[in-house]
Amino acid sequence: MIWQFDIIILTLVIICGIAAISVRDLLGASILFGAYSFMMCLLWAVMGAVDVAFTEASVGAGVSTVFFVAAVFRTSRSSKD
């Protein structure tokens, strides 16, 4: 575990999380959530959990983003908050 990488990526994770819940456009929120998942995957790779990291990269950043985009296209794209 390299703590410099760890702190930088942890900050990026938190920034992506705050951005994903504060953007008003739901498609943008979905893509930001994908970026959040990918940053989380990098964090786990740094911490030595490589199996969890590639599962998160395929399932969290891949399939979840596709689910979100599909759901947003079937419903409305704008959000009030």
Binding site: V13, I21, M47, V50, V52, T55, S64, S76, S79, D81
Partner: protein, 136 residues
């Protein structure tokens, strides 16, 4: 006092976990849009997974794969040289469960949108109240 501060600074990963859990809880409680609530639920789940992975990490340790393990004899393996693989395996299951809950939650949100033509919680509540008044 300085020792206490050192303990709090050294556990920065757990501070990240607490902040991410706060973000997820805030999104689940305060946001009215359903997709935002689902994103908050997922952030909360990944925060819990990050907590478990943090308990497994060690400074100066490598990934839990034994180098030259096959046919080696005579010298033992020091556990301090490898990360603890047990929380990794548990969290592998948690990731799969989280994507399953995400699929169910999004399917329910789409179904609600078909019925009420809105994803906002307050508008849906207003429509439900108006429907009850009409029936009476």
């Amino acid at each position: 006092m300085e020792e206490l501060a050192a303990v709090f600074v050294a556990r920065y990963n757990y501070w990240g976990v607490i902040i991410l859990m706060g973000i997820g809880l805030y999104a689940m409680i305060a946001k009215t849009n359903m997709v935002k609530k689902i994103i908050g639920m997922n952030i909360f789940q990944t925060a819990i997974i990050l907590f478990y992975i943090s308990t497994a990490a060690k400074y100066g340790a490598s990934i839990p794969i034994i180098a030259h393990g096959h046919g080696a004899q005579g010298h033992g393996i020091r556990a301090a040289d490898y990360m603890n693989p047990l929380p990794h395996v548990l969290m592998l299951t948690a990731i799969v469960v989280s994507v399953a809950t995400l699929g169910v939650a999004l399917a329910l949100a789409v179904r609600v949108y078909w019925n009420y033509d809105s994803l906002e919680e307050d508008e849906i509540l207003n429509q439900i109240k108006a429907g009850q008044l009409n029936r009476k």
